[in-house]
């Protein structure tokens, strides 16, 4: 407990002593984490939009024309696999009606008594990544005449590729921004270590252990990281709420995720990033400085 008091007092005394440098470190970390958070929000919204679009790609399962009702019901039940969100049965008569509505100028009266269309199932998937797997499965079911996707397979493939690209971009940006934060905190702590070199030397000479000496610097890095994360979170939260509160349809399609849905994970991500990179940056900086000092 006395250790903790000492470390906390030393950490805050040091931050107070080096006010300007601390302010600079926190501001830079705030900006870096703000960019990281903004990137996360952008990627998440894009992914949500892409997933939303991909989910609208229904598979149309055409059943045999003279299929018995019992078999038809069995196929409907069989289509309700875990990957499927919704199965809608459209009878041949309904399908013809819709066709007539779509093409009112065509002379379709002759088909009223002899409907060339069969019953069909419209299948909506939970995850568009299962598109091809589910299509293959449904095509193999007995009583299914054909599975149509009306060009949806190409669209699905493109959306899936885009989604993968976004994921990769998110990971790379996380790494790059993380390294930037690491560098910022590394330099800030390095300056602190330099400013406190006499104190460190005295601690070493009177028999303080390396881990004891290191702790205030780790706490300082943690403070910079978490403070930056919290400030960035506040800024980003206010900005996102304002933007997503706009009723314009375009905004809704660009930002499909509600603030309550996405800001929580975003803040957690930023705080964890600030904490990890803050402590890691401080650790590396201190170790590096001590190696230089003892060389």
């Amino acid at each position: 407990m006395e250790f903790l008091q000492f470390w906390t007092r030393e950490t805050f005394a040091n931050i107070r002593r080096n006010r300007l440098m601390s302010l600079l470190a926190i501001s830079t970390v705030t900006v870096a984490l703000f960019i990281l958070g903004a990137f996360y929000l952008t990627i998440s919204n894009l992914r949500a939009a892409v997933t939303g679009q991909a989910q609208k790609l229904d598979l149309v399962v055409i059943l045999d024309r003279n299929i018995k009702p019992a078999r038809r019901d069995a196929i409907v039940d069989g289509a309700r696999i875990p990957q499927v969100a919704k199965v809608e049965l459209v009878s041949a008569a309904q399908a013809l009606g819709e066709f007539k509505k779509s093409y009112p100028d065509l002379p379709l009266e002759d088909f009223v008594n002899d409907n060339p269309l069969g019953d069909e199932l419209r299948v909506r998937l939970k995850n568009p990544e299962d598109f091809f797997k589910v299509r293959t499965y449904l095509a193999s079911v007995e009583g299914v005449s054909a599975v149509k996707d009306a060009g949806a397979d190409i669209a699905a493939q493109r959306l899936l590729d885009f989604n993968r690209f976004l994921t990769t971009a998110a990971i790379i940006s996380l790494i790059v921004l993380g390294l930037a934060i690491l560098l910022i905190i590394h330099n800030a702590i390095r300056l602190t270590v330099y400013a406190r070199r006499r104190e460190i030397r005295i601690m070493q000479l009177v028999g303080a252990t390396s881990s004891f000496i290191r702790v205030p610097f780790l706490l300082e890095g943690l403070f910079y990281g978490v403070s930056g994360a919290l400030l960035a979170s506040i800024g980003l939260g206010v900005l996102y709420r304002t933007a997503s509160g706009n009723p314009a349809p375009l905004v809704k399609s660009i930002l499909p995720l509600a603030p309550g849905e996405i800001l929580g994970p975003c803040v957690v991500l930023m705080v964890i990033a600030g904490l990890v990179f803050g402590v890691l940056g401080a650790y590396l900086s201190f170790t590096h400085s001590q190696r230089g000092a003892s060389a």
Partner: protein, 285 residues
Amino acid sequence: MIEFHDVSVCYEPNKRHPVRSLDGLNLRIARGDWVFLVGPSGAGKSSLLKLIYAGASVQSGRVVVDGQDITQIARAEVPALRRKIGIVFQDFQLLNEKTAWENVAFTLRVIGAPQSLIVREVPRALETVGLTHRAEAFPHELSGGEQQRIAVARAIVNDPKILLADEPTGNLDPKTAREVGELLTKINFERGTTIVMATHDRSFVNDLQRRVVRLKMGRVVSDENPGSYGEANEGAQETAPFDLPSALFPTGARRVAAPRNAPDARRASRSAAHHSSVSRSAASC
């Protein structure tokens, strides 16, 4: 208490111009002893002090401190060794943003001493150096002598077995230096702390009349003990312990009584324990 066995130290041995600091040095310092290390700059005084607190490593030989061979010491064991040692520097090395009290308490805080011990020991250390009334003063509010006394208080607050002092009077006027000398004498006598002090201050050495080890080019060239000159000088070159005029300090003839208050036991152990010699000639690193 402290033993050097054929110790050589070489700085930057892999560089083009390595520097040999100690060269086959042998020296023994008994518990409770007070030894002055004298000699020209570059003679190896500071290196010798650094070896005692594991601040430098040997090229060859062995250094034993309080029964522990510190040439074999693991990195993790260094803090424990240093808790037995207090160090005083020429430039005081006080923390400017802390008061005298906090500077002294700092030693105990960073080794995890409980608050109860800090509250008990810091006033005791300040009292020993006679600066209880200046406890709340910051270093810039203290005179040079007071700052050095605070540095001494910081060095002795955890009751170390050994006190190392590297030119502690270098920045002080003669009168203040004498006061610091009296303070160290008191610590040596009352606490039985072994004191090893590197100094260039002739009058300080002459006034205090303690054992004097003279170093030159990393070797002990003389080892004079005011209380037992004959034994102390065994194996050493016949050279004045300090470059003093012969009239003041005749070679091979210095014999001064030990301090009046020094306990007999300590005097006896001092004369029996130390031994030094020039063991080999200088060699390249």
